[in-house]
């Protein structure tokens, strides 16, 4: 991934490279197939999964449509329990808020559990530049951090890597033993990270949900790394987007099983913890300080869109990536975004600008698999269409697209011209057949990876006439 090129070019270059790598693609597909099987089995245990989706979606609608009330309630409740809430307009403010806390405590080392929002604000870069040791504790995140690359998938960060590659990486960076066994590799990471939890001064986590009614954050995880991160260091910082709010504690009883089922196919993730404040007077452990950093970073811009605010209901399960034919073929890094796949393609243009990211609205086959799988029923593929519409409406389609559309209108309005164009098309097809797929073919760019069937002998128009 090159940083200097513009996002559209980078997407096209990377997509071409990845789609040509048959080996990696089949590896990716087979692991996603495994996910699909597990998930289907778990879903079938539901008495009524479809109705559960509607109910789960309702919880997020209520939160998003009353976000001002619930956000204020969330912050007030947390503060009443001794936590500090930091309100941050953008990445810059969130980064300085976190840095200030770390500096105030004269901290040396920071342990992190999985938090995509810290990727969004590029926190690790800053902390490392400031001289702090920052360790990702989620196994997948730990692996991609050692490789100095971005997470491949926001739920399965290292899903693109084979065990042999992880073996090589661990031997190189951790001086570990030579083994391709996933269990032994996991134990290597466990031993390394154990010591880090005990010595870290600061624990940074994300939050899957913020419960307004009680002022708690909820963290979902399998490994136990988030529990250790929020239990042992003396300061706990949690960074979360303002859209993570839900109204009541009991809503978790519905949302947590939905998140697990759609996300990994488990009926419930191993640890679902609710944290409300630092260690209280009558408690024997836990951090002495808890900071919750609330981040806007253009989420309010998305909220202002009466159609696409729908996407703020996302619970980041990653299911839409797992079923997306585009994701399966171009892979996660190609997106160049913090959030990959359909949901990333919908929200990134709002968070980072339509002009540079509108190409993502076209990285879709519009098959609707994403909308169909979404556990809270976000109308994902239609939002991609809405982004296309908005880009065209703002004249961001480019001059080529404009000429094409004007030409199309002229042809479609004149039957004689339409007939002529049809005939020329057929002729062109026959004439270019010998040079199909070669560089002198005028349609090379399109045809190099595609075959075009011969057109029907009889056009529909001719058929219709003959029928009468």
């Amino acid at each position: 991934m090159s940083q200097s090129t513009n996002p559209t070019t980078q997407f096209q270059t990377d997509a071409n490279r990845v789609t040509a790598d048959d080996d990696r693609r089949s590896f990716l597909r087979s692991s996603l197939r495994g996910y699909q099987t597990t998930r289907t089995a778990t879903q079938e245990r539901f008495l009524n999964y479809e109705s559960a989706r509607i109910a789960a979606g309702d919880a997020k609608w209520e939160a998003i449509e009353n976000l001002d009330t619930y956000l204020a309630q969330f912050a007030d409740k947390l503060e009443a329990r001794g936590a500090t809430v930091h309100w941050c307009n953008d990445s810059e403010e969130a980064r300085s808020a976190i840095l200030e806390i770390i500096k105030k405590h004269d901290a040396q080392s920071v342990i992190k559990s999985k938090c995509m929002t810290t990727e969004e604000i590029h926190l690790n870069d800053l902390l490392e530049k400031e001289g702090f040791e920052v360790v990702e504790s989620d196994l997948g995140e730990f692996i991609v951090q050692l490789r100095e690359e971005a997470p491949y998938h926001f739920v399965f960060p290292a899903m693109h890597l084979k065990k042999e590659e992880i073996n090589t990486l661990f031997q190189e960076k951790l001086k570990s033993i030579n083994t391709n066994d996933p269990e032994e590799l996991t134990m290597v990471a466990r031993e390394v990270l154990r010591q880090k939890y005990l010595s870290a001064d600061i624990g940074i986590s994300g939050a899957n949900f913020g419960v307004a009614e009680t002022g708690m954050i909820s963290i979902t995880e399998n490994e136990g790394n988030a529990r250790l991160t929020t239990s042992l260091p003396k300061v706990h910082i949690s960074l979360m987007g303002i859209e993570k709010i839900i109204p009541r504690l009991e809503d978790l009883a519905l949302l947590l099983p939905m998140l697990a089922t759609a996300g990994t196919g488990q009926h419930l993730t191993c640890y679902n913890s609710q944290l409300g404040g630092p260690r209280q007077e009558d408690e024997s452990d836990g951090p002495v300080e808890m900071h919750v950093v609330l981040l806007d970073n253009h989420r309010t811009r998305l909220l202002a869109d009466p159609e696409q605010r729908d996407a703020l209901r996302c619970i980041r399960c990653g299911a839409c990536l797992n079923v997306c034919p585009i994701f399966k073929n171009v892979g996660g890094h190609t997106y160049g975004t913090t959030y990959q796949g359909p949901i990333g393609s919908v929200i990134t243009p709002h968070l980072r600008g339509l002009k540079d990211w509108k190409h993502l609205s076209h990285s879709s086959s519009l098959c609707g698999a994403c909308s169909e799988t979404c556990p809270v029923k976000i109308d994902l593929h239609h939002h991609l269409l809405r982004n296309r519409r908005d880009a065209a409406g703002k004249g961001q389609g480019g001059i080529g697209e404009k000429i094409l559309m004007v030409g199309f209108t002229i042809v479609m309005r004149r039957p004689w011209l339409y007939r002529l164009a049809g005939g020329l098309g057929k002729l062109g097809h026959v004439l270019t057949k010998p040079i199909h797929g070669t560089r002198i073919d005028p349609f090379y760019a399109w045809k190099k990876t595609r075959d075009l069937d011969d057109p029907a002998k009889q056009s529909f128009k001719q058929y219709w006439k003959s029928r009468k």
Binding site: W87, L139, R194, L198, L254, P257, C270
Partner: protein
């Protein structure tokens, strides 16, 4: 202040109502489905009516808990008396050669472990996390067992703090059959009742031993937390 700025932008954004069509799509389905009333009560009811069915009697709940525990690789042991719970712990001590165990001030826990010939670390008041890390096992109580998900619901009060149930390589939960409830919503209701507005700072649903599948989707137990989870339930 940023608080006012952000809340101001949120209010301004929400001054335009959500597009009616988009709102409708989220409610509709291609199937004809039972839909409960919108709002909090409908959602709590949904947990019982739409999520997996686990029956209503204790026998049903225990059966469901057993099935899921097997899948999760949780060791779920039902014993008739406290005396047998004690013997089970003694058997586990021999089997796993426990030398040091982490415990806390909890009536049921104490009456189960008091005769074990091991070194104890109590986490009910200030303790050293490095010492806890050296323990072979942590034995704790819980607030409830959840039949629908085969989870143990704990708080820092019922489980000796935040770390006892996650730092040692083996976690043993002792519970009474009267603590079995149907859904997670029932679990939350219990904690609400017990602590009212003075919530514990830590609540967690523990569902199986710690796990990861981050390397080629191969399941490995004990990623960072306990490699083993044993739940001993006393059902007279």
């Amino acid at each position: 202040m940023s608080r006012d700025a952000i809340l101001g932008r949120v209010r301004e954004a929400l001054s335009v109502k959500t597009d009616a069509h988009v709102r409708e799509v989220a409610k509709k389905s291609s199937h004809s489905l039972p839909v409960l009333a919108n709002g909090p009560d409908g959602r709590t009811q949904a947990v019982k009516e739409f999520l997996p069915f686990v029956g209503d009697s204790l026998e049903d709940h225990i059966a469901a808990f057993k099935v899921l525990s097997e899948k999760l690789q949780t060791e779920f042991i039902v014993v008739p008396t406290i005396e047998e719970a004690r013997q089970t712990l003694e058997r586990l001590r021999q089997q796993h050669q426990w030398k040091r165990i982490g415990v806390h001030d909890h009536e049921l826990v104490q009456s189960c472990v008091d005769q074990l010939q091991v070194e104890f670390l109590n986490t009910s008041s200030n303790y050293d996390a490095r010492e806890l890390e050296k323990c072979d096992v942590g034995v704790s109580g819980c607030d409830a067992l959840i039949a629908q998900t085969a989870s143990a619901l704990v708080t820092n009060h019922s489980a000796g703090g935040r770390a006892l149930s996650v730092l040692p390589p083996h976690h043993v939960v002792v519970a009474d059959a009267s603590q079995m409830v149907t859904t997670m919503a029932d679990g939350f209701a219990l904690i609400r009742e017990k602590h009212d507005e003075k919530w514990p700072s830590f609540i967690s649903f523990i569902t199986g031993p710690s796990r990861t599948a981050d390397i080629e989707r191969v399941l490995v137990l004990g990623a960072h937390g306990p490699k083993k989870l044993t739940i001993i339930m006393i059902a007279a």
